[in-house]
């Protein structure tokens, strides 16, 4: 009896915390649908009175959102591809070999994870500028973000590779595979889920990337939606409903994708590649 009460209490706490956590998201949706005067009404209304869905089409058109979202997609896809391509091999080696150098490499990888983007951007900017990479600003952002996101990907995918018994690859070696063949034909297919899920997480992060894009992309036609949103918010902004409508258009697809894939993402991260 006390056990069920205990469970209920915990459930209540979880719901409460979830509600607090998700409230800003709700406020974004609610504000987007409010009229200008209702936004500033006191006391604030929790449920918008007159629903005006036309605002989304209006904001999409006036802010040229198609272009911003496209740039976000380009940067996110490019970063994801780069991270997956470079990180998978790295994670594999870090998972399969054990010696001092590997430990040092792992430590450095974790170190990189600690450094914040706002700290890294200055040296990266100077370096990229010297190399002429800033002439291809979206590619420059992809490169910088790849470096930033790599540790996260490597740590996740390394765990996936570690859950695959080395004996499987040894069996493949004896069966006639080369070392690379055993990796490509045995380890890689078995790690597929873990790699896919980690890549999706990287994509989502890159889709919301702001610091590098803001600093490196001056040309407004190449800026992603995060920078576009920032440009929308001036010091004298009163158009909160439009800003929120922009934000809604920006995050809802990602949110929907996450909700749809949520189960697979969680299971892909926690279960190994086997079974």
């Amino acid at each position: 009896m006390s056990a069920t009460r205990h469970t209920r209490l915990l459930l209540f706490a979880a719901i409460l915390l979830g509600a607090i956590y998700l409230f800003p998201l709700y406020w974004m949706y609610a504000t987007a649908l409010k009229s200008g005067s209702e936004i500033f009404a006191y006391p604030p209304t929790f449920i918008p009175r007159g629903l005006d869905f036309g605002i989304f089409a209006e904001v999409w058109a006036t802010r040229d959102m198609g272009r911003f979202i496209w740039n976000s997609l380009v940067i996110a896809t490019g970063s994801m591809a780069l991270v997956a391509l470079l990180g998978t091999g790295c994670a594999y080696v870090l998972a399969r070999y054990r010696n001092v150098w590997i430990d040092i490499a792992l430590f450095l990888v974790l170190m990189l994870q600690v450094l914040p983007a706002s700290l890294m951007i200055t040296p990266i900017f100077v370096g990229f500028s010297a190399l002429g990479l800033l002439d291809f600003p979206r590619f420059a952002v992809m490169l910088a973000f790849t470096a930033k996101a790599m540790p996260f990907f490597v740590i996740l995918v390394r765990a996936t590779f570690m859950s695959i018994p080395a004996e499987l690859e040894e069996a493949a070696l004896v069966d006639g595979n080369s070392r690379i063949g055993a990796f490509a034909l045995i380890a890689l297919p078995l790690a597929r889920n873990g790699i896919l899920v980690s890549a999706i997480l990287i994509f989502m992060q890159a889709f919301g990337e702001f610091v590098y894009s803001k600093s490196m992309i001056q040309d407004v036609t190449l800026q992603p939606a995060s920078v576009g949103l920032n440009g929308f918010m001036g010091p004298n902004t009163v158009e909160w409903n439009k800003i929120m409508a922009y934000a809604t258009i920006y995050v809802t697809p990602i949110l929907a994708a996450f909700v749809l894939l949520q189960q697979r993402i969680v299971s892909g991260l926690t279960s190994g590649a086997l079974k």
Partner: protein
């Protein structure tokens, strides 16, 4: 006529950093024979097998397969097949694809593959399971698939790394016979690693006993049982294990006095150096209970276990002596017993080196 050796290990050494895992291993394996590498865990038997497969590189010496040195040959060019302890079946492939993986790698034709898979499946009774994934199979079936994956290769050498240790006892006894029967049918050379001396004794033509990276003794299974070269081999081969008691050779060199209460003396079949300290080895199945008053070990039965076919008698306390009796004796706990042994069944070992004294 000399039989061409299939595998030769010539003073093979292996170091892991400062750890000397294999020390000067010399083994010659004739074509078609079944060799067991046996020893306690950590003795280097698996390392030796993996070196044969090419999964580990050796630090010194030479490994030859059919006369060719293969030290620097990668596993795929050694023409060996291996059955792993965990079976190492590819979880993302069906049984058919698991077994034919090596053939697909060498780009064998579709017809060739189908024929070979059908053959092997018939030998192993796997015909109904070809389209299943490994996780839909029982332990015994997985074991067969692992065997099938090796057999289909028709390799020069089969390597087995404790293939039965994940099976239950009844299945293990069954698969033991089956593997040996397969070996006899195929006639390929097999090297079999196990920690179970009974597996080694029952399956192999030639047993290599390893301890801490050293070959303690190798030879035919019964020769290891009858004439163990060291105290370790004597204690390792045979179940229950040989009893060891400290002792000293008598003044005439024709008897040995045991370091037991009452200092019992047992006659020897050969003359030893008088007053020499020895370790005396007595196999449980060689001891018998004497009622006639012949010289033996006077002690008491502390515990009696009867399995129906044999009776285990535990006598004395320090050290305990185990006796296996095939006759049903009316002995119960606490009864005095007089244990005797045929003089030629007594094993003597040097207490320092452990070497057998003959």
């Amino acid at each position: 006529m000399t039989i061409q050796p299939q595998i030769e290990l010539l003073s093979v050494n292996k170091h892991y950093g400062g750890f000397h895992a294999l020390k000067d291993i010399n083994v010659t394996i004739p074509k078609g024979s079944f060799v067991a590498l046996v020893g306690p865990s950590g003795c280097g038997k698996s390392t030796l097998l993996r070196s044969l497969a090419g999964l580990e590189s050796i630090s010194g010496g030479e490994i030859r397969i059919t006369g060719k040195a293969v030290n620097d040959t990668p596993p795929r060019h050694r023409d060996v097949a291996m059955v792993f302890q965990s079976y190492a079946l590819y979880p993302h492939m069906s049984v058919r694809d698991n077994m034919s993986y090596s053939m697909r790698l060498r780009k064998a034709s579709r017809a060739e593959i189908d024929a070979a898979v059908a053959d092997v499946a018939a030998i192993l009774g796997l015909g109904d399971y070809l389209d299943r994934k490994p996780n839909a199979l029982s332990g015994g079936q997985r074991q067969r698939v692992a065997m099938g994956r090796a057999i289909i290769r028709n390799p020069k050498v089969f390597l087995f790394d404790e293939p039965l240790s994940n099976l239950d006892a009844a299945l293990r006894v069954h698969m033991r016979k089956e593997i040996r029967a397969l070996h006899d049918r195929i006639g390929a050379t097999s090297v079999y690693v196990t920690h179970d001396q009974i597996e080694a004794m029952t399956m192999a033509d030639h047993v290599v006993v390893l301890k801490s990276g050293v070959v303690e003794q190798q030879g035919a299974p019964l020769s290891l049982y009858d004439t163990p070269a060291t105290k370790f081999v004597a204690g390792f081969i045979g179940s229950p294990a040989m009893n060891f008691v400290g002792g000293i050779v008598g003044d005439t060199g024709r008897a040995v006095t045991l370091d037991l209460p009452g200092a019992p003396s047992l006659p020897l079949a050969r003359t030893m150096e008088p007053r020499r300290q020895v370790d005396v080895g007595l196999r449980p199945e060689h001891l018998s209970i004497e009622t006639g008053g012949a010289p033996g070990i006077e002690t008491t039965a502390t515990s009696v276990e009867s399995t129906g076919s044999v009776t285990y008698l535990y006598c004395g306390g320090d050290p305990e002596i185990v006796v296996v009796l095939s006759e049903r004796e009316r002995i119960s706990q606490g009864d005095p017993v007089n244990l005797t042994i045929a003089p030629d069944k007594i094993h003597l070992f040097d207490p320092e080196t452990g070497a057998a004294l003959r």
